[in-house]
Point group: C2
Chain length 175, copies 2
């Protein structure tokens, strides 16, 4: 049937380079995400958002507020509310009111959550290494540099509204 296999196929010959670039970026991300999601499900019966939330807490042992989690994960506040509730019910994270501000909650890994995360994180890193193994170290450096520039470009472009975080004014220099 000779049909391409991914989103890039929608690029027309006369399309702008930037558009091709964006679609290839999206394709790569989708491919990696699919692999990781599948592995996480098969090996640990878990999901990417759960893993990502635990990873943020592991990276920030000083505990994080709901809003910080929302910013870091680049998802809406309501989304975080649901995920934290779920993980708290399973005893993987703790959620305690802040002393100084009664609006705020501090979220952190429990011992059980830390163990659970560490187990997954090791496998996760190996999966990523394997997926990127086709690029030698220089190629990885080159890609990292290119992506750094892209990140700056995107964050600099237009009026920056940020990632949807309804009801949160965090990180809106233009707002």
């Amino acid at each position: 049937m000779s049909v391409q296999l991914d989103s890039e196929s929608r690029v027309k010959d006369d399309d702008h380079v930037a558009l091709k670039l964006w679609l290839r970026l999206l394709t790569c991300t989708n491919l990696v995400e699919s692999q990781l999601r599948g592995q996480l499900r098969e090996s640990f019966d878990s999901t990417l958002p759960r893993f990502d939330l635990l990873a943020q807490l592991d990276r920030h042992p000083e505990k994080l507020t709901m809003g910080e989690l929302s910013s870091l994960m680049m998802v809406s506040g309501g989304n975080v509310t649901g995920l934290v509730r779920q993980l708290e019910k399973e005893g993987l994270v703790s959620r305690t009111p802040a002393k100084t501000d009664r609006r705020t909650f501090l979220v952190g890994l429990t011992r059980k959550g830390k163990k659970y995360f560490d187990r997954m994180a090791e496998s996760h890193e190996n999966w990523v290494i394997e997926l990127f193994a086709g690029l030698d170290h220089d190629a990885q450096e080159a890609l990292m540099n290119a992506l750094s520039r892209l990140k700056s470009s995107v964050m600099g472009a237009g009026a920056w509204n940020g990632v949807p975080r309804s009801g949160t004014g965090v990180s809106r220099p233009g707002g």
Copy 2:
């Protein structure tokens, strides 16, 4: 509070280069996607998946089956079923049974859908160009090359299960 603004912040200093690379890739994609989603909503009261589906049909004027759409968009079949149903109800796409195979449906843009898409596509391309404007042409070429290599790497790595397309055996050389 001095907390970073995106997923990369979960990288620890001793983490493997590939992991940093993956998180930066994810961050860039999330940033671009958020911008485009917001613009699409504000300017056209539409969404990315709707746009993507129409774009695939525009790219393939010979019409596509549900399964081909699923592969091209890298989303599950059930997802395509819902999107096509919605767009068909709005008169933007047509969905006709194939002559030779009664399991199969052929989906294509209606005249109304083509107009609707063209209007969005122009803005969409301009948004992308603007988001990538911080990279000069050489940098864009470099990034494209790096991503090409990454795509090959990911598609070559491990047993390729492909993107989740439940109930679809498409493109599984290993299955």
